[in-house]
């Protein structure tokens, strides 16, 4: 078969390299005796750039050299290639969010006091990225800690019109008290696991 044309060799190199290539890199593809000079290379690159106009990738010159990149207009399709399967949020994140929702505006220190453990900054960052919480001010105490509150996006996501649509705190507290003080002491004494175990472990959702 005939020897490939210069622009083809350059295209092959750009496709295989996976990194930007500069003129010296291109020159290094060739044996010293038949190495094209920089002018020739540049003309070949110009031809290549032309050739790509109708194709899904384009030749771009960046700081470290030339590279091929997929055109931005393919984003709507290619985004699906790179999306990661969404994971699950950690319990720590969910609890932090719940405390912010019910206790807002609240500082990180106050959340830590309630949960008894430190709130990692990755949790608040995640919640802020999702635009569910925001900083609404600073508490005027030493260190001026940020005051965190929920956003309208948070309400939208959970289909709430306002925070008042969240079940009132009192409901939780009443439930917890029921859990803690079983109405009949018999239940504790007789070891019959069948006695309302479900209720105790998973209190029903508040109406």
């Amino acid at each position: 078969m005939t020897e490939p044309a210069l622009p083809d060799i350059l295209e092959a190199a750009l496709l295989a390299a996976g990194r930007p290539l500069n003129l010296d890199d291109f020159a290094a593809l060739f044996a010293e005796t038949d190495c094209p000079d920089h002018d020739t290379l540049q003309r070949a690159l110009a031809e290549l750039a032309n050739r790509f106009e109708q194709r899904p990738c384009e030749l771009r010159e960046v700081a470290t050299g030339y590279r091929l990149q997929v055109k931005a207009c393919y984003s709507p399709w290619l985004t699906h290639l790179f999306e990661e399967r969404p994971g699950r949020y950690s319990r720590a994140l969910m609890e932090t969010l719940a405390i912010i929702a019910y206790r807002q505006p609240v500082t990180r220190g106050e959340i830590e006091e309630i949960r008894g453990v430190a709130v990692s900054s990755s949790i608040t960052r995640t919640l802020q990225e999702r635009a569910w919480i925001r900083v609404v001010g600073h508490k005027e105490v030493p260190g001026r800690p940020e005051l965190l509150a929920t956003t309208p996006d948070f309400l939208d996501h959970f289909n709430l019109k306002s925070l008042a649509d969240l079940p009132p705190l009192q409901e939780f507290i009443t439930q917890l008290e029921l859990e803690k003080k079983p109405s009949s002491p018999h239940v504790d004494q007789t070891p019959t696991p069948s006695t309302h175990p479900n209720q105790q472990k998973n209190p029903p959702a508040p109406g």
Binding site: A16, R60, V70, S75, T79, F82, L97, R134, A164, L169
Partner: protein
């Protein structure tokens, strides 16, 4: 492409004068290990190490003399094989037990070949070499298969995967889904674990007051100061006014806002705590 990784001796025509050359170093056959070490011992070692095991060594010995595996001159081959083993031992090369086992097998075959064949039932008299022949064939097939495999187009050697930059592609982030019930369950867990919380006064603070506190703070983030009256919405009615008022009082109590009046009977302003004094 199809390089023979086997020792270089294979392209040497078999020389009947010296059928038992024990090694070839740079193309020169050596019948015995020279005492004065003219050959650099390393070279010989490298040569011997090119064998992948006793079967490989045997195959080499057979192929070197253009013999058929089907008709191995066992006595000859055994002698040559033992010479190699001897060299390896002399060079104190780590000798795998398999080489010695093969020496034993060869010796056994040789002795059985010497025995006269039983006259009756010639059909069942198996050639003592048959099992070795089978193993040599089997090994040779895979030796060749390995070479064929090696010669197949390989990624990064014969063909290259294409990769182009995807920096221009914007990726939408996909977030985990959560339901309100998940959130409430998390909150129940918080309350269950936090005795302290239930003793706090929060249980008496209606949620709407805290929400209003957040929204007032958020507005102060944008505006730095807001006329007090603007914090009340007429359409919310009396209850809305009460909620806003309680929120303002609570914020002031927690020193999250300042309430100032520049002059008697003038506008009352609500300021972010760090904000400067209000003036028109």
């Amino acid at each position: 492409m199809n390089q023979q990784p086997s020792p270089p001796a294979s392209d040497q025509p078999p020389d009947p004068a010296q059928p038992s050359a024990c090694a070839l170093v740079n193309g020169t056959p050596y019948r015995e290990l020279p005492e004065d070490l003219y050959i650099p011992p390393d070279a010989l070692e490298v040569f011997l190490e090119t064998f992948e095991g006793p079967l490989d060594l045997l195959l080499y010995l057979i192929r070197r003399q253009n013999l058929s595996i089907l008709d191995i001159p066992v006595a000859d081959i055994t002698r040559q094989y033992l010479t190699y083993i001897g060299m390896m031992t002399e060079l104190r090369m780590e000798l795998a037990a398999e080489y010695l086992l093969m020496a034993a097998i060869l010796a056994e075959i040789k002795s059985r070949m010497l025995l006269p064949k039983p006259a009756e039932s010639p059909q069942e008299a198996e050639d003592p070499r048959a099992e070795l022949v089978r193993r040599l064939h089997e090994y040779e097939r895979f030796k060749q298969a390995a070479e064929t495999l090696e010669a197949l187009p390989q990624c990064g050697r014969d063909y290259f995967q294409t990769t182009v930059d995807t920096g221009a592609i914007t990726v939408q982030k996909v977030y985990p889904a959560i339901e309100l019930e998940d959130l409430l369950a998390a909150f129940r867990a918080v309350l269950r674990n936090s005795e302290r919380l239930s003793h706090h006064s929060i249980q008496r603070e209606p949620l709407s007051v805290r929400e209003r506190m957040s929204s007032i703070l958020a507005r102060l983030g944008n505006q730095t100061r807001i006329p007090f009256t603007h914090l009340f919405e007429r359409h919310e009615g009396r209850q809305g006014v009460v909620v806003s008022f309680l929120a303002i009082l609570e914020l002031a109590r927690e020193r999250l806002i300042r309430i100032v009046q520049d002059e008697p009977l003038g506008h009352v302003w609500v300021l972010a705590p760090g904000g400067g004094a209000a003036h028109d």
